[in-house]
Symmetry: none
Amino acid sequence: MLKKERQAYILHQVNLHNKVLSSLLSHEIRVSEDTIRRDLQELSGEGKLIKVHGGALSHSFHEVTYSNSLSVYSQDQKKVIGEKAAALIKDGMFVLTSGGTTIIEMARALPPALRATFISGSIPAILEYMQHPNIEVVMIGDRVSKNAKITIGAEAINKIKNINADICFLGINAIDIKRGTTENDWEIAQLKKVMIDSSQKVVCCTISEKINTLQPIHICNIPDIDVLITELPPDAPILRPYVDAGIQVI
Amino acid sequence: MLKKERQAYILHQVNLHNKVLSSLLSHEIRVSEDTIRRDLQELSGEGKLIKVHGGALSHSFHEVTYSNSLSVYSQDQKKVIGEKAAALIKDGMFVLTSGGTTIIEMARALPPALRATFISGSIPAILEYMQHPNIEVVMIGDRVSKNAKITIGAEAINKIKNINADICFLGINAIDIKRGTTENDWEIAQLKKVMIDSSQKVVCCTISEKINTLQPIHICNIPDIDVLITELPPDAPILRPYVDAGIQVI
DNA sequence: CAATTTTATGCGTATTTATGCCACATTTCC
DNA sequence: GGAAATGTGGCATAAATACGCATAAAATTG
């Protein structure tokens, strides 16, 4: 990894989380903490961030948080989900993803050294993937839905059908132990269906408040899902039925 | 492998991945690292990429991280071009566009009441089109070039071949009365070629500075162009040869 | 077409840069 | 106050680079 690349990654993280820890960065990028420290110093000298003991802060966040400089990353629910999801991806994988905020968080949590191919029709997701230094990005084309910011239509569905992905990540809006996952948009439901068919492994990501809720259009049943990711620990009571149904809950 | 070829290959890799490593290139092309280094130096001198220790980075990568001013070069002129271009589009048209800053300005200049279908592989262009209340937007899918922020590859080319557009807008980097329009990236040149083939009418947009310049890869000849748009008035002396060649100059 | 010049490339060596490691100072937290 | 984490500066090392030079290929010239 080039020095500038590393620094770009650090800056990206700072802008994303408002703070970074040297120790974490060092672990993520797999370089010594000395190097991280030198990078932070350099970037600080250029005015790109503010160096503090143990890490660095973004400019925008600087005033508010002199007190808790060592507190952990803001553990937003969706960030937790994103991190759990990102951990499932290994080098060389073909990854198919939908759109949605949880997927965006996954994209942001990808380790910088990861080398994989990401395929999606979601424009915001593609924009995030493009920030990554090492992954290959493939966009699925078709008519663009302006509010979902995703390509939809027969063309997209056909294209996905011809893909054979290792893993597929779906941000879902509703899941229920009886009815499976459901959606409120017919075309997006179609897309997600074929994504599931085209993948070896299906991972559903959702915040816990959407568990045990329903939407009008059916996507898939519980047995079609391999992994369920929420912000809760896997042994949370609300997740119990899904564990019992044989899903790997993370 | 010829020097030009090698440098074109390097540039292409930079456009695709935002970075290249000297060691890797040297191994791939089977030339010494010295040669790669000299190439990178040369290309860097021409402003085509940014040389760093260990390899090189694309401009776009460098800009988003290292520079905080994302000012577009001679944006006012491009706005003029954008307005002229937008005026050519009528209700109901199928419009094929490349990417580039002039195209973005066109997208911004579209009258809100316009109802037309816009087709493009350029992610920034699609983002602009999505802002518009009435147009239909179609994204062409394929591998994403991280620097050009455009989808490229055989899939995209095939898709464009099957389109029959009314009009096609190309932001071009070089035009010359003898050699026609030229590009510096092979794959992008291919895309533009098929765009021209798939459209009834071909419109080239460029700032006047790029008139009478050359790039290595040929796209099309002057007779293939229907309309040429620059920021200058149509009777500017520099445009005279193009008017004489039968192009409608605006 | 031969002679000459220019250009492109690779090699060896000196130099610079990037990084990690260590000993020791400083800060933070309990 | 003291343990743990973090920062500092020096040093070692490996990788990348600059530079001079030799050689070969290509272009130019007479």
